[in-house]
Point group: C2
DNA sequence: TCAAAAGTGTTCTCCTTACACCCATGA
DNA sequence: TCATGGGTGTAAGGAGAACACTTTTGA
């Protein structure tokens, strides 16, 4: 069977429609550890089960728009780094109905989210490395999203999406160490990072992490956008 | 709105289902140029329009299974390199009906395909760099797939999926030159390639490309699989 | 004998890596 | 004054990039 002719309803009619949902793998970084925003049922049935935050894709929106809507409804945030991960469409993935899900992963700054909105939705932040079992194939989604994050962060400085807009180099290093679960060398990390010329040094220090204080930087989004389109190598280290 | 409770049909009932299709971006390599397998309507209506090859996703199969089925039905091939590209779900993407598509790209050896099966389905190979306009958002799909192929081929030797099982190094180089649209240095290409130790040299020569003839090689899939799981850097050149 | 493609080595440069000490400050 | 985290430089090794000629053989 090949692609049906378009604009002729007869070609669609005999086909079966499916439920289409989206699930968001929402990463955050807090207290030196990677966290995931999940939905914990507080009432029966299935009280206590943990799932990703998602929604059906409505007729008036694309999957990406649905995912953005979910993120906005739960966290109050807009203009967030979000990318399609992949689709999940195994026949038996959802025992309740034939339902495919298009998963998106997002990186957000926890402190910018609307905490009461989050709480009102029954959403909570859990540490990634002590995650309990999630419903359906959501565990697999998280695993896939983490793999993708690791791949992506090798070549693109997306880590900055997880930190405050003003951040210190030690903070960024701790984030990378959390993502890749390994210690890095301070000197090499700084050298490579600064050689990209994508950080704007500020005249402020963050005094929360040490007595000496660490200089704050801002990410140069404008410069990055220009480089990105030209295809730049952002690799922060050798694998 | 958060994720509905599963196993309770009431949560699905009020939602609208959508048509779910899959489209395949099928790459081939022949006569030194990259080609795409497309479907050309030979009868009215819409005679002459060109689209990717696709199908609806049926209730009994996942999107990936649907894509594999399409590939098998059109080319007779199984066990082909195929990966999910991304989903396309813009509300107005298909004027005929609200229909999302999950696109997959595949790399096949043209000479192994069932030529009459291909022809019977009205499928034809078109050169990638002189593609006409495709229906719907299929042009965008091809562009995205090509970007993905370029990204992927940098780090994984997937090019071999497009060549005969026995191939010569000059053939592989020509393929890479076609993918990246740039000339490469023979000596550096061979050096890097052979240093991966993934090619099994054969005692045969391919005499079709030159009077001198070029030695044939086979790809060492077993070794590759082992390296792949350990996370190896297959980059064939610096971007 | 010549045209056309296959095959081969070396040098330079740059990036990555490994590695250890001083600095600033608040407690 | 001392404990804590912030910040700095250099040398060695390895990978990528640039570069030109010889080999084979059918026409």
């Amino acid at each position: 069977m090949t692609k049906p002719i378009h604009h002729h309803k007869d070609y669609y009619a005999p086909e079966e429609k499916l439920y289409v949902a989206t699930d968001c793998i929402i990463f955050g970084f807090d207290e030196g550890v990677l966290k995931l925003l999940v939905f914990k049922r507080r009432v029966e049935p299935l009280k206590g089960t943990i799932s990703l935050i998602g929604s059906f894709v409505h007729p008036v929106e694309s999957a990406g728009e649905a995912a953005k809507r979910v993120l906005r409804e739960i966290t109050g945030l807009e203009d967030i780094f979000m990318e399609e991960l992949k689709s999940y469409s195994a026949v038996e993935r959802d025992p309740g109905a034939r339902c495919i899900s298009i998963a998106f992963y997002a990186l957000i700054r926890i402190e910018e989210s609307n905490k009461s909105l989050v709480a009102n939705h029954g959403a909570i932040w859990l540490e990634l490395d002590t995650l309990p079992k999630l419903v359906l194939d959501h565990g697999q989604m998280v695993k896939d999203a983490l793999d993708r994050l690791r791949e992506k962060a090798k070549f693109y400085p997306i880590g900055v999406e997880l930190l405050s807009k003003k951040f210190t180099i030690p903070q960024l290093q701790k984030l990378y160490e959390a993502i890749y679960q390994k210690k890095m060398d301070t000197r090499n990390f700084r050298k490579k990072l600064l050689s990209l010329n994508l950080l704007i040094p500020l005249d402020e220090k963050d005094m929360s992490g040490s007595k000496k204080g660490a200089f704050l930087y801002k990410f140069n989004y404008n410069k990055y956008k220009k480089l990105e389109t030209k295809g730049f190598n952002f690799s922060l280290f050798k694998t």
